[in-house]
C-alpha cells in the first residue's frame, strides 16, 4: 500500500513537472526567437549565469534555508540584472565580445566560489553542483512546479501580446522610437526573459537554461521563413523537447533534465538543418529561392 501511494505521488508530481517544463520551454522558445532577432543570445547566457550568485545571495540571507520559489525568482532576477548591468557598463569602454567574456567569467566564478564556500557551512540546504548547473526537474516539488507554470504562462502571454511592438522595434528601432516604443519595451522584454530564466534555473540548470531559450529559435528558422510562423514552430518544439527530457530524467534519475533537454534540442536542430539543407528549405535556401522569384517578378 505504501509503495502504491509513493508511486502515485511520484506519478502526479511527474505530470505536473512535465506540464511545467512544457509551458516553460514554450515561453523560453518564444522569448528565444526575439532574443535571436534582437541579437541578445549571448546576453541571455550572461543573464543565466548571473542567476547563480543571486540565488546564493538569497540562501545566505535566509540563513542557509532552502528558498521558496518567490525568493528563487527574486534572487535570480536580481543576480541576472546586476550581471547585465555590469555587462552594459563594461561595453561603454570595451568591445562587445570582450565585455561578454568578462561578464560570463565573473558571474560563473562568483557563483562557483560562493557555492563552494557555502556548501561547507553547517546547516546550509543547497542542491548539489550538478543539479544547479544541469538541472533536475523530476525532483521538483509541486509548489515549485506550480510557480514555474504561473510565471511561464505570464511570460508567454505578455510576449505574445507584445509581439507586434517587438517586431516593429526589431525591424526599424528608430522609427519605433519616434512613435514612443523602444526603451520601455526592451526593459519589459528583459524583465520577462530574466523572470523565466530565474524560475527555470532549478529545473534546467544555470548552464543549460539558455539552451532552452535559444535552440528552438535556431531550429524554427529551418522550418519557415516568416517570423510569426517561426514563433509557432519554436513554441511547439520548445514545449515537446523539455517534456521528453523530464520523462527521461524521471525514468533514469542520473540523467539531469537540463542536459538531456539540450542534447535533444541539439539532435533536433541537427536533423532539421540536415533536412532543410537537403531540401533547400533552410533559411538560406528559402531566401535564395524567394529572391529568384522576386528577380523574375522585377524582370
Amino acid at each position: 500500500m505504501g509503495e502504491l501511494v509513493a508511486y502515485e505521488a511520484w506519478h502526479w508530481n511527474v505530470v505536473w513537472v512535465l506540464l511545467a517544463m512544457a509551458i516553460m520551454g514554450s515561453a523560453a522558445a518564444v522569448l528565444g526567437c526575439f532574443s535571436v532577432w534582437m541579437r541578445l543570445g549571448l546576453s541571455a547566457d550572461v543573464a543565466a549565469h548571473g542567476t547563480l550568485p543571486g540565488l546564493l545571495l538569497v540562501v545566505a540571507l535566509l540563513g542557509g534555508a532552502a528558498p521558496s520559489p518567490l525568493w528563487v525568482l527574486l534572487g535570480g532576477m536580481v543576480g541576472a540584472s546586476l550581471t547585465l548591468w555590469f555587462l552594459h557598463w563594461m561595453r561603454r569602454s570595451n568591445s562587445g565580445d570582450a565585455a561578454m567574456a568578462v561578464a560570463l567569467s565573473l558571474s560563473f566564478g562568483a557563483g562557483l566560489g560562493t557555492l563552494s564556500w557555502m556548501q561547507q557551512l553547517p546547516g546550509t540546504m543547497l542542491p548539489g553542483l550538478g543539479q544547479l548547473f544541469f538541472g533536475f526537474a523530476a525532483g521538483m516539488p509541486l509548489s515549485e512546479a506550480l510557480w514555474l507554470i504561473g510565471v511561464s504562462v505570464v511570460v508567454l502571454v505578455w510576449t505574445v501580446l507584445l509581439a507586434p511592438r517587438l517586431a516593429s522595434v526589431i525591424h526599424n528601432s528608430q522609427a519605433a522610437q519616434l512613435l514612443g516604443e523602444g526603451a520601455w519595451l526592451r526593459l519589459v522584454f528583459f524583465a520577462l526573459l530574466l523572470a523565466l530564466i530565474a524560475m527555470g534555473v532549478r529545473a534546467a540548470g544555470v548552464v543549460m537554461v539558455v539552451g532552452l531559450v535559444l535552440f528552438p529559435a535556431a531550429t524554427a528558422r529551418c522550418w519557415h521563413w516568416h517570423w510569426r510562423a517561426q514563433l509557432r514552430w519554436a513554441a511547439l518544439i520548445g514545449a515537446i523537447v523539455p517534456a521528453v527530457a523530464v520523462l527521461l530524467s524521471a525514468a533514469v534519475p542520473a540523467v539531469p533534465t537540463g542536459a538531456s533537454a539540450v542534447c535533444l534540442h541539439a539532435l533536433l536542430l541537427t536533423l532539421s538543418l540536415t533536412y532543410c539543407w537537403g531540401t533547400a528549405r533552410s533559411a538560406h535556401g528559402t531566401d535564395a529561392r524567394r529572391r529568384n522569384d522576386n528577380v523574375e517578378r522585377l524582370a
Partner: protein
C-alpha cells in the same frame, strides 16, 4: 512652418559638438534637401529633431513639441539602420505605420487595412505585399518604407539618404514617388547627396557643415557651396 529649430547643439558621447544651429525653419515648401559634406551634421539634424540623438535647444513641429504630434511625423532611417534580416513582409512593415492609431494590442481594424492597402497601391507595391522586405531590391525597400509613412498619414516626412545605394532607375522611381507624395500635400525633408538633380526635384535646400551655412532655393545654396569650393563632395 513644419519644423522649427532654435539654439540646437548636438553632441554625442565624448562631448564634441557635431552641429550647432542658431535658428532654422524647414518644411514650408514641398521638398527640402539637406546637403553638406560627410560629417556635416545632416543626419544628426534629423535625429536630434526627433529625439533620436542627444541635443540641447528647442525643436518644435507646427509650434508644438514632438510628443504632441508624433503621429504627424514619419522618419525613414538610413538603409543601414534598418534590420533587413528580420523576416517580415512588406504588408506587415506598412501596417506598422498604423501603430500610433491602434490600441494596446495593435490589432488593425477594417479601416486600417483599407489605409494599408491604399498605401501599398500608391507606392506600387501590390505585387510584393507578401514578399519578405529583406529580399527586395533597395528601391523596393525604400518604397516600402515610404508606404509605411503614407499609411501613418504623416504630414511631414523626414528621410535620411533615401536614394543612397540605389541605381539610377531606382533613384528616378523613388524621386518620382516623392514628388507624387509632395503633390499629395506631404512636406518632405530629405538628406541628399546627389547634387546633380537638386534643382530638378527640390524646391528648397539647406547647406550644413557643422553649422548652418546657407538656406534657400537650390540654385542659391549650390552657388554658396560653389563659392566656398565645397562642390567636390
Amino acid at each position: 512652418m513644419s519644423l522649427e529649430v532654435e539654439a540646437l547643439d548636438v553632441r554625442y558621447r565624448g562631448g564634441v559638438s557635431v552641429l550647432k544651429v542658431d535658428a532654422l525653419r524647414l518644411g514650408d515648401a514641398g521638398m527640402t534637401a539637406i546637403i553638406g559634406p560627410n560629417g556635416a551634421g545632416k543626419s544628426s539634424l534629423l535625429k536630434a529633431a526627433l529625439d533620436l540623438a542627444p541635443r540641447q535647444g528647442e525643436v518644435r513641429f507646427w509650434g508644438q513639441p514632438l510628443a504632441d504630434v508624433r503621429h504627424r511625423v514619419a522618419y525613414v532611417a538610413q538603409r543601414a539602420e534598418v534590420d533587413w534580416s528580420f523576416p517580415v513582409t512588406v504588408r506587415e512593415v506598412v501596417q506598422m505605420g498604423r501603430f500610433p492609431y491602434l490600441g494596446w494590442r495593435k490589432r488593425l481594424a477594417a479601416d486600417d487595412h483599407a489605409i494599408v492597402d491604399a498605401a501599398i497601391a500608391q507606392l506600387q507595391l501590390d505585387d510584393y505585399r507578401e514578399a519578405l522586405v529583406g529580399e527586395l531590391s533597395g528601391g523596393l525597400q525604400q518604397r516600402t518604407m515610404l508606404a509605411r509613412a503614407v499609411a501613418q498619414r504623416a504630414e511631414l516626412l523626414l528621410l535620411d539618404e533615401p536614394l543612397a545605394a540605389l541605381d539610377s532607375a531606382q533613384r528616378r522611381s523613388v524621386l518620382a514617388l516623392l514628388e507624387a507624395l509632395q503633390a499629395d500635400g506631404k512636406r518632405i525633408v530629405c538628406v541628399h547627396h546627389q547634387l546633380a538633380d537638386l534643382e530638378a526635384h527640390f524646391s528648397q535646400a539647406v547647406l550644413l557643415d557643422g553649422e548652418l551655412v546657407a538656406q534657400g532655393s537650390p540654385s542659391d545654396v549650390l552657388e554658396a557651396a560653389r563659392t566656398r569650393g565645397w562642390l567636390s563632395w
